[in-house]
Symmetry: C2
Subunit: 169 residues, 2 copies
């Protein structure tokens, strides 16, 4: 299959200049505020967005390169298939987070609960709608016994110089 | 900002050959089954995935081209900013759904609750984890009075020849 060309719509500003010490999920970054700086050519597309309390962000792990199909997540010490993790070094290099929208000022969105490196290219914003997006998932695989660690784990050098987000559960 | 190159990891098979009559959200496609056909070179990355009941899918609206910053969603008759909708004709052309995983057979994942056109390129699979991904969103903007229509609305020719998924709320 051919590669697809995708154009960023803006950039994510956060307090995190380096992966070390960064939360590994928005759950561990609940109080962390950041900004989405949208390219002015896309500003009109932000109409109506301030009616939503939460947004889905898709972004690009720009400091990752390459990928492994088996990875050892921060929250585990066993190798797992990359598609069963949120590891940044993945084939698509695309990351996903749901964040709280605080306010909009023109082409700038102020958000809370963000866990990516400053300068991360933003690919898309979608409204978060629980009726569509929240599921009663009765099984969370290998994360079952690990997911509660996420709020107190921060990243280390495991993916250093390769990952912009150390979010890999 | 430069365009980014993203390589699909597989393709989504569904019963939907054309947009007309297709559900506009997984909520309207709860019983619809499909398959993710993963490129064998990525198969190893599927390890551990069958422990999860729900998966996040990112895919590419390959039959969309171009975008509008203001769109009239199916569930509304007012123009809205594209980033406050799920319209397929959007700058990134990336779509997002949470689906149920039924079973895995080698490089093939059987899923339920899928609302995209057959042949849609799959960009990424991530485990759906309610602790990370489900939010108590107290505001869903213009969708507040419209979201309950989603299960009975199907698509029409509004985005015909342009959209592979008519999911735009």
């Amino acid at each position: 299959m051919n590669d697809l060309n995708i154009q960023p719509i803006g950039v994510i500003e956060t307090p995190f200049e380096n992966p070390e010490g960064m939360p590994i999920q928005p759950e561990g970054a609940l109080g962390v505020e950041g900004r989405l700086i949208i390219d002015p050519v896309f500003e009109e597309g932000l109409n109506d967005i301030d009616g939503f309390s939460h947004l889905i962000l898709l972004y690009y792990f720009h400091r990752s390169s390459g990928y492994d199909l088996m990875v050892t997540p921060f929250m585990d010490n066993t190798q797992r298939g990359v598609f069963s993790t949120r590891a940044p070094r993945r084939p698509s290099q695309i990351g996903f987070s749901v964040v709280r929208l605080l306010k909009r000022e023109g082409p700038i969105l102020f958000i809370r609960g963000i866990d990516v490196l400053c300068g991360t290219p933003l690919l898309d914003i979608k409204p978060y709608v629980p009726k569509f997006d929240a599921k009663d998932a009765e099984a969370v695989g290998w994360l079952e016994t690990h997911q509660h660690k996420v709020a107190r784990i921060t990243s280390d050098s495991r993916f250093s110089n390769q990952s912009q987000k150390t979010d890999n559960q």
